[in-house]
Symmetry: C2
DNA sequence: GGATGCATGTAAAATGTTACATGATTTA
DNA sequence: TAAATCATGTAACATTTTACATGCATCC
């Protein structure tokens, strides 16, 4: 048993979504993510797929007559159940997660105003670029979720800029 | 050389903030974080401190006459430089990070409307609780940053609820 | 014919989790 | 005096990164 890690769940989700597909394709999906959190490295994905097969959550499908080395996998009923349990886990879904800017802001008092301004400007530029980015899978709803996230992130940035300009200004 | 990981940087930041202090105290700070990302487990922190000392970023301070076993550490000039470099790294600061709800929403089509509503309700309850939470360190600015983040997260949630109610309603 | 992409994997190293183990001190 | 907190650490295990290695197929 044991709960799925986020990576395991995401991999199962991709196998579910993409039907019988390869570890390579799932790794590529991870690499295509706008989040730095999903490296999609071979060293992470292939052993992961192996473990999921051993645990009965994924199943290899026999390749008809393969001209090229290639193993397709599908999610099993057990795998779907495990993925579903991960999906509806409200406790974990309600966590704060990780944000690389938020982590830094805690120590913002070690920066000068100029450094702080420069940092926020770079983050805003990155956020603008991410907001414009087409995400994968190219489904309208996914794009809307991404847009909603980026909107929230930009409004956070605006609040922070406001907060810091007050902080630095003489009062 | 090598860039600092986020955990290394956060540890250095805490040693910097708390002055000569123990690994135990820094671990406790991590555990006090509202984010599930900072476990503050002994097995993570003590080996980390050891590595940071070996790399010359942290330095043990001789304890006067210690009644209890206890090693205090301070950040070195090199450590401060490394922490600073991490802080102003706009490229990393501009990343999307990890959000446990966002990760799940990608696979939202595997859920029924009722499950989806239940999940979002739980996440909203968690976000409300987090928004009210006093964070550590109890500095007004930290609290304001936390509040700004939670505001952004709640506005994201509202957008998502709106989006999904449109998605589920017959059109 | 060479670059790129598809496809799989491993090996070494680093990192982190979980659980255990110890013992002093402080508080109720 | 019992429980909680301070304080340090290790051992086994799981996971992930980085880098290497291979070979086929396709595109230019």
């Amino acid at each position: 048993m044991g709960r799925l890690t986020d990576l395991e769940a995401a991999a199962l989700g991709e196998f579910k979504r993409q039907g019988p597909t390869t570890g390579y394709a799932v790794a590529a999906s991870f690499r295509a993510s706008p989040s730095e959190f999903w490296s999609g490295s071979a060293g992470a994905v292939y052993p992961l797929v192996k473990r999921l097969v051993e645990r009965g959550l994924l199943e290899a499908v026999p390749s008809g007559e393969a001209q090229r080395e290639r193993t397709g996998y599908v999610i099993t009923a057990q795998g779907t159940a495990a993925l579903h349990a991960w999906l509806v886990d409200g406790e974990r879904a309600g966590g704060m997660g990780f944000d690389p800017l938020r982590s830094r802001l805690i120590y913002f008092d070690l920066l000068s105003r100029a450094e702080c301004d420069a940092l926020l400007a770079q983050v805003r530029a990155a956020a603008d670029a991410l907001a414009r980015r087409e995400i994968w899978p190219a489904k309208p709803l996914s794009q809307k979720i991404h847009a909603a996230w980026m909107r929230a992130r930009l409004s956070f940035l605006t609040d922070i800029e406001q907060l810091f300009s007050e902080e630095f200004s003489p009062d």
